[in-house]
Amino acid sequence: MEEFFQQLTNGLAVGGIYALIALGYTMVYGVLKLINFAHGDLFTYGAYLGLTLLTSLALTDRLGFAAGVLVLALMVMGLVAVLGALLERAAYRPLRQSPRLSAVVSALGASIFLQNTLMLIYGARFQVYPDNILPAATLNIFGLYLPLMRVLIVLASVLMMVALYLFIQKTKIGTAIRAAAIDQDAARLMGIDVNRVIMLVFLVGPALGGIAGLMVGLYYGQINFTMGWVYGMKAFTAAILGGIGNIPGAMVGGLLLGVIEALGAAYISLAWKDAIAFCVLILILIVRPTGLLGERVADKV
């Protein structure tokens, strides 16, 4: 039983990261009906930018751990957000009136481009965050091993998700985003600047992806230029699992996918872990064709 709970917490820690990245997919999809395949690479940029800023500015030395990491996180979020907005401008805006799949191919091209840019700048070798930045404390609760950082990661993810949810639900700008997601033309007629909404979505989504990249870098230490592909795929799966376009769905989907993977690996088979996760996904979609929290809408033609 102890092992079960241990695996459960393992799954939640992984799932928290998936959920943060999934939010970027789902927000963009909600407004543009576009699967932004380059989102995973923005996550990687978060990890690399974090490393560069951390080592070149020595933030944690100057400001102490908590303040240093906070400043670092804000800088990474800002930079990746700008990158996301640039990506939208260059690769997606020209295709907004085009068939949806054309934008998907443009996104795939952007993904290849971004990934290989990183390889050329930083080289192909693994990059490693400096050791001993993080407090290495491990909590031991009823025999469960919980490194402090894992707890912090899950808490930070949940905190950001809740903040995003409140932003979307309670603020005026959030309402505009929701309106544009439901019907762009109608939103435009109501005086909403849809272009600005889209720009905003491409700022917030990548910012969350970037911070997820920074967290992975800080906690796991090792980063490389292809890591966004694996995380991106998982996060996209999570977004679909929860019902793409739905923000609480991305959170639930992410955490659930992490848990399914952990328990599948623990009790069925390690080697078949990803296959098990996809089987569960397919079964869920057969029962609920639009994901767990997705709305059942007729296909807009």
Partner: protein, 375 residues
Amino acid sequence: MKQKLWVLAAALGLGIAAAAGAADTVKIGLMAPMTGSWASEGQGMKKIVELLAEQQNAKGGVLGKQIEVVTEDDGGDPRTASLAAQRLTTKGVAAVVGTYGSSVTEASQAIYDEAGIPQIANGSTAIRLTEKGLKHFFRTAPRDDEQGRMAAQTIDKLGFKKVAILHDSTSYAKGLADEANALMKKKGRDIVFFDALTPGERDYTTILTKLKGANPDVVLFTGYFPEAGLLLRQKKDMNWKVPFIGGDATNNADLVKIAGKEAADGYYFLSPPQPQDLDTADAKNFLADYQKKHNELPPSIWAVLAGDGFRAIVAGIAGAKSADGGQISGYLHKDLKNFSGLSGPISFDAKGDREGEVYRVYKVDGDGKFVLQKL
């Protein structure tokens, strides 16, 4: 728009048609993963082979001609590798060095063999590569069965009883895991765990939790260094003290960087000797030159083995007094004995395998240094 398409089509045609002009050089091919997941290995291979060529040329090249290294990217994937091989065969190379990864090498073997071009693979340890009776295939890398034997023997000598084996489902790691598993079972070792992780991920605590549940005396991990580094790091975070033994794919300077010195302390791995553990003047001088030029050590022993492949080819061309593939292969099979390689003496047997005991046992010390063990 039509014009643009024609321009594209013309560019494509030109690119394909760009043929290699013959010159007064001896061309030696290098097939390496310059892009894709193993790009770091490929780039190390290229740096080493090009530096060696530069040095050889300064000494007058071979057969009185300068050596030209022709590098082709195999992308670390079999289909791209077969194209890279076809391309090298049309470029008039005398012989080819490479590549990293058994299945990638395998996709190119038949092409070189049919073209009569000797190939010396550097990071391809799968047993069957040399069991096909190919006349022109050699490797400076050892074979998986030798490493499996060494792994079983080492675990025996260190006195561990309950063994957990973890691989990563790649051709190489699975083969090594199977080999070691069979040998240890025969000797009556208790194999308490045998499964695979998914490479390329970041979080392996699920696997470690499961491993810990099996309560082994030692864990044999046969996969690659990025995962090994993460496993060690996360194992330390768990306060789990079990020793780990790894295969030669974990012999990479980045292992300690990824794991952190503290977590890597006490990690054993099997590997062909590290260049710095060789006392030949050749190896020492070369490494000093390499460090001077690139300001770092080679990423791994596999890149160094590519260098050995290159040196063996140069020796083969000089020895056979010809750049003809058949003659080079003949020389390498019969006449190249105890050639002084960077990684130790090199001789090839009839199959093209490297002769002699190659594996050593290393242990990582508290400073993150790889220390040769005497067992």
